[in-house]
């Protein structure tokens, strides 16, 4: 390992911290709100199934789980694998 990348790490190490601080939240958006939103996006499960089941003719939670490909202990595979969670700008 040459010294050049090591020198780079020292040089730009401080800059990374600045970047994190510089995140500007749009008006009305707080860190707590973002945390709750993040939980909605990444950790939904039984509650969502039960709401959706109430909106189906059979009102069967197991049927909703089947449509959304439920994974035990994780949640619906349909949203877990969704591209809109992985695409990076």
């Amino acid at each position: 390992m040459s010294l050049l990348p090591l020198a780079g790490m020292f040089l730009f190490g401080g800059k990374k911290k600045e970047k994190k601080k510089k995140i500007e939240y749009p008006p009305g958006i707080t860190e707590e709100l973002l945390e709750a939103i993040s939980n909605i996006v990444f950790y939904h499960g039984t509650g969502l199934y039960k709401i959706l089941a109430r909106a189906t003719p059979e009102q069967d939670v197991e049927h909703v789980k089947k449509i959304l490909a439920h994974q035990e202990g994780i949640g619906p595979r349909v949203t877990e694998d969704a591209g809109y969670k992985k695409i990076r700008r």
């Binding site: 709100l33 996006v41 039984t46 509650g47 959706l52 089947k66 969704a82 695409i87």
Partner: protein, 254 residues
């Protein structure tokens, strides 16, 4: 590994996750609609919806923008559904998905308002209601004063309609009304003729006079009334001794 990567992604870019706050809700509700519309009750129904939401994400469209452009999105979903062999009638699917969007918005608005109106408390209520560990989301919502049941019931009716699980109410009511009308008309005619017969009986008229009265009744004697035992004695029984008369009477009465 995948989960860790996603988690890290989310931490690095919180604005990104705020923009897609409503995406999983839209995705799952529209998937249910697509499943019932196409009869594909498995994750394949989710793909056309996901493709369109991925495109929306790339175009930086949040929930409020999606609400404005939903007609175009419905067409795009229908196009992908046809490509994947879920539907053959793209136009019809687009119309159904348009309706599905309208009904989905009603549910999502109640669960998670648009970002501009979304407060921390409201987001936390939705978080708790949708959580993996929540067994009764309706209690969570009710405690927060949110009644989502009318919107869910409306969606349920919509799914029943698009999957053909319920008979249209208009078709079933129309013939019933007609039947009531005909039956009342018949009973009126029946009453009229029976009252004439009773009158003649009390006045001491002969059987021949009663038969003639039935035949010359202004309303005639409809075929369904001939089944009545009382009337049969005057119209039907008269046909046995002299068939020529009764046939003549029947034809004259129509």
């Amino acid at each position: 590994m995948l989960a860790t990567k996603k988690y890290v992604d989310e931490v690095r870019d919180p604005i990104h996750s705020a923009m897609i706050a409503h995406y999983p809700l839209l995705h799952t509700i529209l998937t249910i609609a697509m499943a019932y519309h196409t009869g594909t009750h498995n994750p394949k129904a989710a793909k056309p919806v996901e493709k369109v939401l991925n495109a929306s994400y790339t175009l930086k469209e949040d929930y409020s923008t999606i609400k404005k452009n939903y007609r175009e999105l419905a067409k795009a979903i229908a196009h992908h559904a046809k490509e994947q062999g879920l539907t053959t009638d793209e136009e019809n699917t687009a119309k159904v998905m348009e309706q599905a969007f309208e009904k989905t918005f009603k549910i999502v608005d109640k669960l998670l308002p648009e970002l501009q109106k979304l407060t921390e408390d409201r987001a936390k209520i939705a978080e708790k209601a949708l959580k993996y560990s929540t067994d009764d989301p309706f209690v969570v919502l009710r405690n927060a004063g949110i009644d989502i049941e009318p919107e869910l019931e409306e969606f349920r009716q919509f799914l029943a309609e698009i999957s053909g699980k319920e008979i249209e109410p208009q078709k079933s009511t129309a013939p019933v009304v007609k039947e009531v009308n005909t039956s009342t008309a018949l009973s009126q005619a029946k009453l009229e003729i029976l009252s004439i017969l009773n009158g003649l009986e009390f006045a001491g008229f002969t059987e021949e006079a009663k038969r003639k009265a039935v035949e010359s009744s202004p309303r005639g004697l409809p075929s369904s009334l001939r089944r009545s035992s009382r009337l049969r004695t005057f119209s039907g029984s008269a046909s046995t001794p002299s068939p020529s008369r009764s046939s003549g009477g029947a034809s004259s009465n129509g």
